[in-house]
């Protein structure tokens, strides 16, 4: 393909991907409780409504708490796992890596059902703690992948240099490896946070009737009455995702994080 054709093709696909979001953003600006596009009686009242109406405020708060805590859990579990796999690199360590990557690779319904029967069995079905831990396990893959990538980029001679300069094992970890991994831990956290906010099926199966999150609230509204607030939430979620990934792209190397090795610096 020629250069122009390539750019044209990429642009068309991106526009198609943007179309539903544009429509939803338009819908969120309707003055009335109707989903019209182009919107009528332009107004931002539904944005205010999200933060005022307790029907939506509670799920918003739930979603934020779950995302913040579960992503922290995911990073806390992923870091020692990735470090161990990196430093040992034997069969057992590789099996551990597969275990860390598996939760996110499988169809989420399977994990969701697994979590459901698990929490029912131990009597924690319907509690927010159950949702948080489930998300923490489900999303552990993302920091495992980003931190492992970070470790793969750590030059072994940095570790050796630190050792020859008098640093013990633990000091090498603290003064060399962890500082180098910080950006990868932050990206892993951001990925996990955004995905936890958007996750529906696990939150639904584990505590859908007691701990409503925003996706669950939207799905319920799809059945029992559309409102422009759904558009508002969608716009905010897209914005948050774009902000998080944009920051990673701005301060990190997103192409490398996603597996590209051959990227020019121009």
């Amino acid at each position: 393909m020629t250069r122009h054709l390539q750019i044209f093709y990429v642009t068309v696909i991106l526009l198609l991907l943007a179309a539903p979001i544009v429509v939803v953003a338009g819908v969120s600006l309707n003055g009335q409780q109707s989903l019209r596009f182009p919107p009528q009686d332009l107004s931002l009242k539904w944005y205010a409504e999200l933060f005022r109406n307790s029907d939506w405020l509670v799920p918003l708060r739930n979603s934020l708490i779950i995302a913040a805590v579960s992503s922290l859990l995911a990073v806390a579990i992923a870091l020692p796992l990735a470090l161990h796999v990196w430093s040992r690199n034997n069969r057992l360590a590789r099996a551990l890596y597969v275990l860390g990557v598996a939760p996110f690779m499988l169809p989420p319904v399977i994990s969701a059902l697994g979590f459901l029967v698990f929490w029912v069995s131990i009597g924690m079905y319907g509690q927010m703690t159950a949702t948080i831990i489930s998300h923490g396990v489900f999303l552990v893959t993302l920091p495992v992948v980003t931190i492992s990538l970070g470790l793969a980029g750590v030059d072994t001679s940095l570790v050796e240099a630190a050792r020859t300069m008098g640093a013990r094992r633990g000091q090498v970890l603290r003064t060399v490896i962890l500082p180098l991994l910080t950006p990868y831990m932050i990206s892993g956290y951001a990925f996990a946070f955004v995905l936890s906010l958007n996750e529906y099926i696990i939150a639904y199966m584990v505590a859908g009737f007691t701990v409503e999150t925003l996706p669950i609230k939207i799905f319920n509204s799809l059945r029992y009455g559309y409102t422009p607030i759904m558009g508002v939430v969608s716009v905010i979620f897209v914005g948050l995702a774009a902000l998080a990934f944009g920051l990673i792209g701005r301060y990190g190397n997103l192409p490398r994080l996603l597996g590209a090795e051959r990227v020019g610096n121009d």
Binding site: D155, S157, L158, E160, A161, A162, R163, T164, M165, G166, A167, R168, Q171, T175, V176, P179, L180
Partner: protein
């Protein structure tokens, strides 16, 4: 008084023997170059000294104490890595301060020492820079300063100048040598560049296939190579198959000549030996004398003229000063002889 000794050191990686039965003693304050082709085991030997590898057999002894099983952080050595291994998350000053802060030295002491070191490597104004903001030569200096920060008992450098371009490399060779002489620290540099080794070292250790081939001053190594490998590896030598007869005569191809007083015989008489002659000791004469050969290439190197001769099975190199250039052209047949007293016979 730090004397560094290796006793019967052997290192195997699986079935590969990287270092085999190396024994050597390095006196205090010596500048040593470990020289050899890539894969000869010189880097492994350095890593064994540093404690980054554990020997399969043998001992490392520093100032009379066995250090073989001491981990690298307890050896009080300084090391510069081939990749330099500067920490990208730390500033220049913090890189140099690293070995001091890891030892819990006081802030004031660290600051003073870092300033001294920055002065030493002429980077006084760049302490706050990040590593990626420095040029190749500047990074080199940071790595050297960092390696010297604790006044190490031994300073180890693994191909430290290999990433620099030719001009800068020569400059840094001189600078490194001067620095070492000023500080008097025992220094061991791994290099595959013989010119670098001959420029810097008090003692050159030539290695090949995991074994030490020769230990000596640069002059000894160049003038009196211990074996055919060293003769071929250091400078250029013509290495030709020869026979040494019991009547003290040498036969090369069909050319036969008597051994002179100054010629060196490093082998008992026999067939299948190697005659080594430097190109500057090769003489081109009329076709009737010596080894018949044909001139296939002439090249003016500025300070000398090089002739490449085809003997049939071997190429022979001859070097003349421009003032002594013989009147011989491309394609001419000549006879090759060797300057008496400059001929060395090695076992193959």
């Amino acid at each position: 008084m730090t004397e560094l000794s290796l006793r019967r050191m052997t290192k195997r990686f699986g079935r590969l023997t990287a270092v085999e039965d190396v024994t050597l003693d390095i006196p205090d304050g010596t500048f040593v170059c470990l020289l050899g082709p890539s894969g000869c085991g010189k880097t492994t030997l350095l890593r064994l000294l540093a404690g980054l590898e554990t020997p399969t057999e043998g001992q490392v002894i520093v100032a009379g104490e066995d250090q073989t099983t001491v981990p690298p952080e307890k050896r009080e050595f300084g090391m510069v890595f081939q990749s330099l291994a500067l920490f990208p998350h730390l500033s220049v000053a913090d890189n140099i301060a690293y070995p001091l802060t890891i030892r819990g030295r006081s802030k004031a002491e660290v600051r003073e020492r870092v300033e001294t070191l920055l002065d030493l490597v002429q980077l006084s104004d760049l302490g706050d820079r990040r590593i990626h903001q420095l040029s190749g030569g500047q990074r080199q200096r940071v790595a050297i300063a960092r390696g010297l920060a604790i006044d190490p008992r031994v300073f180890l450098l693994d191909e430290p100048l290999s990433a620099l371009d030719a001009n800068l490399r020569e400059h840094m060779q001189v600078e490194l040598r001067q620095l070492q002489q000023r500080l008097g620290v025992t220094t061991i540099v791994v290099t595959h560049d013989q010119k670098e080794a001959l420029t810097m070292a008090d003692v050159v250790i030539v290695m090949n296939e995991g074994r030490v081939q020769q230990i000596g001053s640069p002059m000894e190594i160049y003038r009196d190579p211990a074996n055919a490998f060293v003769a071929g590896f250091i400078g250029t030598s013509n290495l030709l198959p020869c026979t040494l007869n019991t009547d003290r005569s040498i036969e090369v191809f069909d050319y036969r000549f008597d051994v002179e007083e100054e010629d060196r015989l490093k082998s008992d008489p026999g067939a299948g030996l190697v005659l080594s002659v430097r190109p500057e000791d090769v003489r081109l004469e009329a076709p009737s004398t010596g080894i018949p050969a044909k001139v296939i290439f002439i090249r003016d190197l500025g300070e000398s003229i090089q002739f490449v001769l085809d003997q049939g099975d071997h190429e022979i190199y001859a070097l003349y000063a421009p003032s002594a250039r013989p009147d011989i052209g491309l394609g001419e047949e000549v006879g090759v002889t060797f300057a008496p007293g400059k001929r060395v016979v090695f076992p193959a």
